[in-house]
Amino acid sequence: MDKVMSNKGIIALYVLPALLVVLTIIYIPIALTAYYGLNKWNGIGQPSFIGLDNYTKLLGDAAFWGSAWHSLLLAVFSTLSLLLYLAVAMVLASKIRGANLFRKIYLIPMLLSSIAIAQLWLRMYHPTNGIVNTLLETLGFSDPPAWLSEPKLVLFALFVPILWQYAGFYILIYYAAIKNIPAQMEEAAKIDGASSLQIAWKIKLPLIMEVVKVTVVLAVVGSLKYFDLIYVMTDGGPFGSSEVMASYMYKIAFRTFDFGYGSAISFFLLIICLAATWVIRRFTATKDPIEYS
């Protein structure tokens, strides 16, 4: 039995195809990104080694730091919006009739392609015919702004569809976690006279804290590397006022064909994402089990 199940040839035959694909398509490019980030390279000719010059350039690149600031803002807004989703999930999980239907409706935008969503919201924000401004005008706001061409508004206007797209996803995750809590917990608290709000805040929330941490990591890292809607809807404009790190990298690499500098930004983006994961995990680590007094 053991001999059959440790047949090296078969193990290799089963594991290697998957492993080789992942190594070739994910790990090798990452290693190359690290290396080419230290080179001057236009993607076609010979790369020439320039040490840390690309990173020195990155430190002084105001356009990049502007985009990093926008990514950070998105991370902050995404994380704050989690509170809202958590509240909705709490309500949904409290024996609401039709909870399942609500959950499904909330999830729909997340299943659709970012391109379709981006194109749809481009129309929604259309200055004269979009539903956003027509509704505002109906409500009595005369002369509503052209949301996507105002440098001061555009970033926040873009956050709306991004949050809209992912709301159902987080609600679904929180809902599943809350439903996992043993029913005795809630019953015991109810017998002790706790209100619904107290049960939600003092019993359910601590019990799903691990899941909340995972979603914070997802929201922060997802925001830091965010690309799709912004690339399609504004391409970082007007004048870089909605540029984020990934869209800036894409521009440097595939518009100006500065593959060396682009690689440096790519690698920096990877480091930031990994560091953010580590920092959030580190600072939210619970040393002691939850105590109730």
Binding site: I10, V15, P17, V91, L120, I173, I181
Partner: protein, 291 residues
């Protein structure tokens, strides 16, 4: 990730049940959120059936005066949408099938077979989940370029398989660990080969997780944009996401055609959700680590 067991003892308070007013307020909030999630899509569907004059002159959420299905007919052929659509279908299916196959084989070897490096290899797959697609993009492009695979469907299929394998394996793991050992013991005793054990016994036993992973793979692949946008340049090889993007870019003023194109691109997923919503929700919860 199971919540830690704790014995809460909340101070006794006067009982406070649901107040009807508070309850209907909560309900109103839930309905409002649902409306916000659906309204844009309803609006999209409506304007996909209107002509420009109707889009500009009628209130935004009014029903189309006359359902202009010809918008759909027009873009399906004139807009190349049929080509993009079939490219999306076969590339999505091919990549999904390959991912499930490779993922199943690897998970089987990692969980059921005995070898020294198994946990290290599993670690490699799990760490890959955290690597952002964008950090590999430039080098992938230049690698495919050197291999003559840019503007070739293989560049897409390979990328989809690689980036979906880790999450697929992660979801499969639990199911494979839970398989009873007796099954494989009995099979091997009876002289069944490992290949037959895997293909004829294990695969059917894990069909539910295959369905779950297949569904989320299909959704990810169908919606993928950045690889197609970067690797593919010929119109005949583009998938719907990039095709829609190009088409809409060309016909910025024809709202009905744009709406019809967008509806066509999201419809397969919506129909799938209608019939398989529970499996989809399960898959998304299970695969929630993927950003």
């Amino acid at each position: 990730m199971l919540p830690k067991a704790a014995t809460p003892s909340v101070k006794p308070r006067p009982a406070a049940g649901f107040r009807p007013i508070g309850f209907s307020l909560l309900y109103a909030v839930l309905i409002l959120v649902a409306a916000l999630q659906l309204l844009p899509l309803v609006w999209l569907f409506f304007f996909s059936l209107k002509n420009n004059q109707e889009v500009f002159n009628l209130p935004p959420l009014s029903l189309p005066v006359q359902f202009r299905w010809e918008n759909y007919q027009k873009v399906w052929e004139a807009g190349n949408i049929n080509v993009y659509f079939f490219n999306s279908v076969w590339i999505t299916l091919a990549a999904t099938a390959l991912t499930i196959m490779l993922g199943g084989l690897a998970t089987f070897a990692i969980t059921r077979m005995k070898w020294r490096l198994s946990s290290f290899v599993l670690g490699l797959f799990m760490v890959a989940i955290m690597i952002p697609v964008h950090s590999t993009l430039i080098q992938l492009f230049s690698m495919f370029n050197k291999a003559g695979l840019t503007d070739h469907p293989l560049s897409l299929i390979l990328s989809y398989v690689a980036f979906n394998l880790p999450i697929t394996i992660m979801i499969m793991l639990g199911f494979y660990y839970a398989l009873p050992k007796e099954v494989e013991e009995a099979a091997i005793m009876d002289g069944c080969s490992i290949h037959r054990l895997f293909f004829q016994i294990v695969l059917p036993m894990t069909s539910s997780v295959i369905a779950t992973t297949a569904i989320i793979n299909m959704i990810y692949n169908w919606n993928e944009f950045i690889f197609v946008n970067t690797f593919i340049s010929s119109d005949s090889l583009k998938t719907l996401t990039v095709g829609v993007q190009n088409f809409v870019g060309q016909y910025t003023t024809d709202w009905g055609s744009i709406g019809a194109t967008l509806v066509i691109s999201i419809l397969p997923i919506l129909v799938m959700f209608l019939f398989l919503s529970n499996q989809i929700m399960e898959g998304i919860t299970a695969g929630s680590v993927k950003g």
